[in-house]
Symmetry: C2
Subunit: 286 residues, 2 copies
């Protein structure tokens, strides 16, 4: 059985109130950590301000989040030096199962999963760097070079052989993928048809009031989206600009921080609070 | 009736895994925001590592948290320039009711609360800077200079008069106080006798399993403590070093992040998750 697939959508403007790249990096670091702690499968970054060109912010967020999700041993091969990564050193490690610290080939176990990157192919198949002393081999298949792959160890005898797998088939949490969307949020959701869409807003109903109803839908859903707005403009406003009503767009519009003590709540703060609450309610029903 | 008083206890080592002051400042900024979003009344900082001298870290955390809680208009008078504040510029604003943006004396309303600092006393009483063009007066009372006070506007006629109030008597959220403790956590809690003490630990019971029991105690409690450990050593270990058992120390030991996707959860992350969940469950029973 496939796992549930949990996606979150965050606006490009999440970093726009932070002037310096170093603090933008800190903030994106927190978002990556939050996603991993609560086992998010996909982070969708969407443009929320048609008046400005948000391409650079989206690129920055996507690069840093993907960098965080990449095991240390693959980073140098997959990421060229670029200005966005200037402060990547301050990004906190995810410490997820797909970032193994063991680099010894003799410790590899049959059936173990690893993240890898394909090397130049040979006639027996495709060698792949899986973070141990020597490359493993994907037999027969001839894959393009420098592609990130998820593999399962199928042979640890004479030489290490691995096979391609779909990360959604792994029962442990296996990190997130990052999707950069050019379309506005309403259009994205229409095109993707999630089984359950939850929008967060301080004008929504308190989560506790609809917790049971959400739980019912959650149980049956295979694809779930939780959408977040920006402090400067919430989801009601963002969708209104597309001519959409938030209630039509989402199955539930919930407030996860009733009686907030501060005038505004930032996106990364709402993200943490909402995922913590949803995780507490649904983690055993996954 | 007095409000409930919500205290949180965080270990000094919360900033010890972050090498640079700038990122320490970011992290403390997040802790201050979290406290304000969830209307925390007191942040207790406790030493959690007897093997090292944590005085500098505790001083840093306390200074930055107090700085965040201080309205902008009082900061220059209350905080001398010191190295801990080098990156104070990146601290996010709290945007709480006790940080009013209106600086006009003619907009002051009778009964309005303000944070102020006492100026040199005169025979009519003590002038106090409350962030408007001219000082207000606390009549008769002769207070020491440069003391931070919470006041209520009692006269807006010829001259502005204000009276001292206890911040716990204000129904709006009025920020937090910071307490630096020299004693280890077990001793602190013994000396303070909170009506309800909740400890967080990944080895605790899932919050959902004891939510109802906590709610019962929460309703009656006037003073509540929520205690957090460090990622390098959880509360079980921290208390064991004092010869204490966590279960004896706390009314409840709860895990607020069941099925965490990452190997460790940092203190500031556990803080956000736990307060979000407790707030959702208890905000309307406050």
């Amino acid at each position: 059985m496939h796992k549930k697939r949990l996606s979150i959508a965050i606006p490009a403007s999440v970093v726009s109130d932070t002037p310096h790249l170093r603090e933008k990096t800190s903030k994106i670091g927190l978002i990556g950590r939050t996603a991993a702690i609560f086992r998010v499968d996909e982070i969708i970054i969407y443009p929320d301000n048609p008046k400005t060109n948000q391409a650079a912010d989206m690129e920055l967020i996507a690069t840093l989040l993907a960098y965080m999700d990449t095991p240390q041993y693959l980073r140098r091969r997959l990421f060229k030096i670029k200005p966005e990564l200037q402060y990547a050193g301050i990004l906190p490690p995810l410490r997820t199962p797909h970032h193994p610290l063991d680099r010894k080939i003799e410790h590899l176990k049959m059936g173990e999963y690893r993240e890898g990157v394909t090397l130049s192919k040979i006639k027996e198949g495709t060698p792949v760097d899986i973070g141990v002393e020597k490359p493993a081999l994907i037999p027969i298949e001839q894959l393009a070079m420098d592609k990130r792959v998820t593999v399962k160890v199928t042979n640890v005898e004479k030489r290490v052989e691995v096979g391609l797998v779909d990360r959604m088939d792994i029962s442990e949490y296996w990190g997130y993928v990052v999707t950069v969307e050019k379309h506005p949020l309403g259009k994205i959701v229409k095109g993707r048809s999630f089984d359950l869409t939850i929008a967060t807003s301080r004008y929504g109903v308190p989560f506790a009031d609809v917790a049971e109803k959400i739980a019912e839908k959650w149980k049956k859903a295979e694809t779930i989206l939780i959408a977040f707005g920006a402090p400067a403009q919430g989801l009601y406003e963002i969708l209104r600009r597309e001519g959409l009503n938030l209630e039509d767009f989402a199955d539930f519009v919930v407030n996860t921080i009733p009686m907030q003590g501060t005038e505004t709540v930032r996106t990364e703060e709402a993200l943490f609070a909402s995922l913590a609450i949803l995780n507490m309610h649904h983690s055993f029903k996954a």
